[in-house]
Amino acid sequence: MTVVLYRVDERLIHGQVVLGWGRELRADRYVVVDDALADSEWEQELYRLSVADEHDVVFATLAAARAALPTWQVDGGRTVVLTRDVTTMADLAEGVATDGAEVNLGGIHHRPGRREVRPYLFLDDEDRDAVRRLVDAGTRVTGRDLPAATRVGLDQLLA
C-alpha cells in the first residue's frame, strides 16, 4: 500500500519504533538501509529480535533500497524505512521519494560538534546539509521521537 514512515534512528529497530510507531501505523514491514549491516548476518539476527515473527524485516544496501523503494511505495505492505543517519536517508530519497512524504528524525545521539535540538536529537553541519537535501527532494522533515510527541519543525532543526 505505502511507506508509512521514513525514520532516521541510530538504534534502527527498537521499542519506540516497533511499539510506539509500528503499532500506531499498523506497519508490517521494516526496511533497514545500511550497507555494512546488509552484509553481516549475526548483526541482522540481533536487529530482527525486536520485530514479531509475522512481520517482514529487510536489510538492504543503499543501492538495493533505491531500486526497491518505488515498489514498496505501491505494493501491499505497510513499510517503515529506517536509516542510521540523515545522509543515508537523503541519498535514498533523492529522485525516488514521494512528494510530500514525511521524514522523521527520531534518534540521533550526541557526539562532538553536534548541537542538541531535543534530548533525543543532536545535529551537526553534515546532518543539517542532509536535511536540506531531503527538503529539496520534496519531503517534509520533522523531529519527533514518538507519535504522541509534538513535531519539531524545520526552523528548529536548521537553527
Binding site: R11, H14, V18, W42, L46, Y47, R48, L49, A52, A148
Partner: protein, 262 residues
C-alpha cells in the same frame, strides 16, 4: 563482519575467579543509576562491567573503558543479556570492533524485548491481578506482598537467565533469544492481559468496594468513561488526569465558598 562469532561455546582460556561474573551481574541492578541524555545507560553499563574490565590486559584496558561507556539504552532487566555477552567477549579478548558493533546492535533489541515483555505485558498484568484481588476485598497488605513476590520472581529470573544466556552465547545470542520467542509469547499473553482489564472493570462495576455500591448513574458514567478511554487511546490520559485534579480543586473551592457564606 559476517565471520563466525567469537566467544560462542568454548570455555574461556583464563579461568575467572567465580566472584567476578557474579559481581557484574549484581551491578546490573544499577545499570540506570547514571541515566543521562548523552550516553543514557552507557555509564551504568561501564560501571557494571568494571570487575571484568579491571582484569583486562594493560594494552586493552583504556580502550575497553571507552567502548563500554559509549551510548547504550536497552532495558534494565534485559541488559543482563548484554552484560553476560560483553563479559564473555572481553574475557575472550574478542576483536574490539566486533565488541563495539555487538554493543550497538544489541541495545535496541533488548530495549524492544523489555518494552514488550516487561513494560507492556508483565507490569500491567501483575498490577491488574493485584487490582482484581484488592477490589474483591483481599487485604491490601496481602495483595502488595503477593504482587511483589510474584513479580520479582519473574524479574530476577529474567536477570539471572539473561546473564547466563549472554555469557554462554556471546555474539551468537540473537538466534538463542529468538528461539525463546519472548516477543511472540508476550504478544499472545496480551489477550490474557486484556481479559484482566475486563475482569478488573467488571469487579469495580459490580463489587461493593467499587462502583457497584453506588447509585446507577455512577455505573453509567464509569462504563462511558471506559469507552471514551478505549476509543480515544493514550492521548486522553493526560487530559483525564488534569480533569480529575481540576474537579477535586473546583469542588474544594465550592466547598470553601459555601463554608464562608454559610
Amino acid at each position: 563482519m559476517s565471520s563466525a562469532p567469537k566467544g560462542s561455546g568454548a570455555a574461556p582460556e583464563t579461568p575467572l575467579p567465580p566472584g567476578v561474573l557474579r559481581a557484574v551481574q549484581l551491578r546490573g541492578m544499577f545499570v540506570q543509576a547514571s541515566w543521562n541524555y548523552r550516553t543514557m545507560q552507557g555509564n551504568g553499563m561501564a560501571w557494571a562491567m568494571l570487575p571484568v574490565l579491571r582484569r583486562a590486559s594493560e594494552e586493552r584496558r583504556a580502550a575497553a573503558l571507552d567502548r563500554h561507556a559509549e551510548h547504550f539504552n536497552g532495558h534494565p532487566y534485559f541488559d543482563s543479556v548484554a552484560l553476560g555477552a560483553l563479559s564473555r567477549l572481553e574475557v575472550d579478548e574478542a576483536d574490539p570492533e566486533t565488541i563495539r558493533r555487538f554493543r550497538a546492535a544489541i541495545r535496541g533489541p533488548l530495549g524492544a524485548l523489555g518494552d514488550r515483555v516487561v513494560w507492556a505485558t508483565a507490569v500491567p498484568s501483575f498490577a491488574l491481578l493485584a487490582a482484581v484481588l484488592y477490589w474483591m476485598g483481599v487485604p491490601g497488605a496481602v495483595v502488595a506482598f503477593v504482587f511483589l513476590v510474584a513479580y520479582n520472581a519473574l524479574h530476577l529470573a529474567i536477570r539471572a537467565q539473561g546473564f547466563a544466556l549472554g555469557w554462554e552465547a556471546g555474539t551468537a545470542v540473537g538466534p538463542r533469544l529468538r528461539g525463546l520467542d519472548l516477543t511472540g509469547r508476550a504478544e499472545r499473553f496480551a489477550a490474557l492481559t486484556l481479559a484482566l482489564v475486563g475482569v478488573v472493570s467488571g469487579v469495580l462495576l459490580a463489587g461493593g468496594r467499587g462502583v457497584g455500591a453506588l447509585e446507577w448513574p455512577w455505573f453509567v458514567a464509569a462504563l462511558g468513561a471506559f469507552f471514551v478511554g478505549y476509543v480515544g487511546g493514550v492521548r486522553l490520559w493526560r487530559p483525564t488526569a488534569i480533569v480529575t485534579v481540576g474537579a477535586v480543586a473546583i469542588l474544594l473551592a465550592l466547598g470553601s465558598a459555601s463554608l464562608l457564606s454559610g
